[in-house]
């Protein structure tokens, strides 16, 4: 009887440890050696590819299922601003820069749950063809919970992340994903 109780206890503890550590490692800790940082942006070049290891596959299944491989699209994700501080739903930000080297790009805000942020105007993203540009071709996109005119994407007070999609990325992005110029994310004010 005592042996059976010990066995049940060991199995329960092992399952909790195994499931918990698997979720934590796949979700937060290990994303493969192909992880590349570029300022506040981070990309995993194994996303969608057939060379991905089991942790990368698990990570992508949890956070970006059905992504395309790197020759088709490179996905950069930002959970922090250009100063390295975590994106805060109580703060407003501006994203400023020039067109990345790609056939087409878009920037989309997602909540912490990885889904689009609900807002009455359905302002979820800006893209190469919808962004309003400054003289000279650069652009400034504002992120906040309060609607603004012009280039604006709604954020969530509960926290958010930004995904930059580069469709058919150019040679410079494919060869130097960690140093090619990408837009900066600058904190403006907090409530």
């Amino acid at each position: 009887m005592r042996f059976v109780l010990h066995l049940i206890g060991a199995v329960v503890v092992a399952v909790i440890l195994g499931l918990g550590s698997a979720y934590y490692v796949a979700r937060y800790a290990v994303q493969g050696e192909a992880l590349v940082a570029n300022g506040p942006w981070v990309t995993n070049l194994e996303t969608g590819g057939t060379d991905a290891d089991i942790y990368t596959r698990a990570f992508v299944a949890l956070t970006g299922l059905l992504a395309l491989n790197k020759s088709e699209t490179i996905y950069y994700n930002a959970t922090a601003d250009s100063d390295g501080n975590a994106l805060d739903g109580r703060c407003s930000y501006r994203i400023e820069g020039r067109d990345p080297d790609a056939r087409w790009w878009s920037m989309t805000v997602y909540g912490r749950d990885h889904y689009l942020v609900d807002n009455p105007s359905k302002r979820y993203s800006v893209s190469q063809t919808t962004v309003t540009r400054e003289p000279g071709g650069s652009f400034v996109v504002r992120l906040s919970t309060v609607e603004e005119t012009g280039n604006w994407i709604a954020t969530s007070p509960d926290g958010f992340q930004v995904t930059l999609r580069l469709y058919n990325p150019g040679v410079s992005v494919r060869e130097e994903p960690g140093s090619v110029p990408l837009p900066a994310i600058v904190k403006e004010s907090c409530s």
Partner: protein
């Protein structure tokens, strides 16, 4: 003391096995759940998805700038014939995913030369004799999986036109044995 050490080692070994199995099989389980949701109207048939909003919760990180169409496939009994639509002056692609989430083949408007393309997806051991002319033959690494069609909405005013054009795409079994 030895007995407790043995129990601790047994627990850790079991935890490691559960950890590995969870990481290794989670993608297939998640993919299977997503395919079950998408294949509600039948497998080997195309389904056109509404433009993503905050209410879209079937797949994480949907792009609000794309029109998605899906086809859950099962090539156990027959190859799958996929015909793309070819809207002009915008990006479109058709991507094939295995049951373990791998994106094993993609064709886009540039690689297709801006024209509609026909792709035959064959399962393991299936042979096409003769090979249909003007088609691309792709081997499926798993019998079940998903085909995802993407059409870029480069301008909101074009959405109705692009929504109409994407419906030219087809996904159907090539034949039944």
């Amino acid at each position: 003391m030895i007995r407790w050490t043995a129990w601790a080692l047994f627990t850790l070994a079991l935890a490691a096995a559960v950890h590995w199995a969870t990481v290794a099989f989670a993608p297939e389980l998640i993919m299977s759940r997503v395919m079950s949701g998408m294949g509600g109207r039948g497998i080997n048939a195309i389904r056109h998805v509404e433009r993503a909003t905050a209410a879209s919760r079937k797949v994480v990180k949907p792009s609000p700038d794309l029109l998605y169409s899906t086809c859950v496939f099962d090539v156990t009994r027959a190859p799958l014939k996929v015909t793309t639509a070819a809207p002009e002056d915008t990006y479109w692609s058709v991507a094939f995913y295995a049951a373990n989430t791998d994106n094993f083949f993609t064709l886009n408007d540039t690689t297709a030369g801006g024209k509609p393309a026909t792709i035959i997806l064959v399962g393991q051991g299936q042979a096409l004799d003769p090979q249909p002319e003007g088609t691309l033959i792709v081997s499926a690494p798993t019998t079940k999986g998903l085909v995802l069609f993407r059409t870029l909405i480069d301008n909101d005013a074009r959405e109705p036109e692009l929504d109409r054009l994407r419906r030219d795409a087809k996904c159907e079994p090539l034949y039944y044995r």
